[in-house]
Subunit: 199 residues, 2 copies
């Protein structure tokens, strides 16, 4: 018999994270009360603390969990270093969109609520985010060097590219007419157009 990690505990914690994420997104971290969260889960407020240590712990887990998801999606998308840089960039865009649409509530929290992290988590988080943006910046810079891409300012292009993508959680609806893969494809197409070398 293999020992099992007690399933109910894990699942309760996951439930808390999931419900809290939806509330953090809808009302913001500061405006979400632990009592409201408890009520949504059918618990009393005090009972939450048998599963978690603090309100911020939930936020921490959501923000850093998403960071990890973005990094691993990016790594996979650019795994083939021999591929044309336009292809790598397209795949990175599509991978980013896939993470965003897979859990748009968590993504919205990742994008907007991180500032409620206290130090040193906040600084660590910003460093991760900068590193992720640098990945896109590097692809664009290298694509410009090889002549595949064309832009007067790679950093600027990377910033606006991620901006377009990161607005997605604020309008994406899982039951909308566009499937995640369609959205990913169109965004990649349109954004690459803006910086592709047409000569």
């Amino acid at each position: 018999m293999t020992p099992e990690i007690p399933a109910p505990v894990r699942s309760r914690k996951a439930q808390i994270d999931h419900t809290a994420t939806a509330l953090f997104r809808a009302r913001g971290f500061a405006a979400t009360s632990m009592r409201e969260l408890a009520t949504k889960l059918g618990l009393e407020a005090g009972s939450l603390y048998s599963h978690i240590k603090s309100k911020e712990e939930i936020l921490h887990r959501v923000c850093f969990g998403l960071a990890e998801a973005f990094f691993s999606a990016f790594a996979e998308a650019t795994a083939n270093a021999q591929a044309p840089l336009a292809t790598q960039l397209r795949q990175a865009i599509e991978a980013h969109v896939r993470v965003l649409t897979q859990d748009s509530a968590a993504s919205a929290v990742f994008l907007h609520e991180w500032r409620h992290l206290s130090e040193p988590a906040r600084t660590e988080f910003l460093a991760l985010r900068d590193r992720y943006e640098a990945g896109f910046r590097t692809l664009i810079t290298r694509g410009t060097a090889t002549g595949e891409l064309h832009t007067p300012d790679a950093a600027f292009a990377a910033l606006t590219l991620l901006a377009s993508l990161n607005w997605l959680p604020s309008w994406y609806r899982p039951d909308g007419k566009l499937a995640p893969e369609d959205i990913a494809h169109r965004l990649a197409e349109q954004l690459l157009n803006g910086i592709r070398n047409s000569q």
Copy 2:
């Protein structure tokens, strides 16, 4: 002698709005306390209420004030209905960026804190925002009809275009190396590239 609107009153209220806007942006509306705001202004918390009626009143004024600024900038940019649609769109983009950079704190509050408005203000605000987005959508739709622009989905293009622009307040620094007009110009250039008909 012409009667004067008592200047100190107006200016105190404007000071409160201005300082509150900076705090709302930095910490979020819910996490900003009236005591913190009062301290920054050299007042006691209770004294704020000789100038304002409630915390939300400030948020209301900021959100709806910015909405007005965006609308009038857009109207001016598209005043010449005979101009090519690509030109009108470029001017609308530049006008939008100008509003964003002129008061990036207020813009950030406009973009992210409106959800703390209570009803019916919240619904009114969203209606205004939708109407503004529709302005861009219409320009793109008409530009596509005349053949000046090219995109498979005007609504989608409008959404991503505004997304790129609206990320600006989160990275724009008034003392950065790019002047507002440079930013406006580059953004317009890059974003129009993505949807311009190159045939």
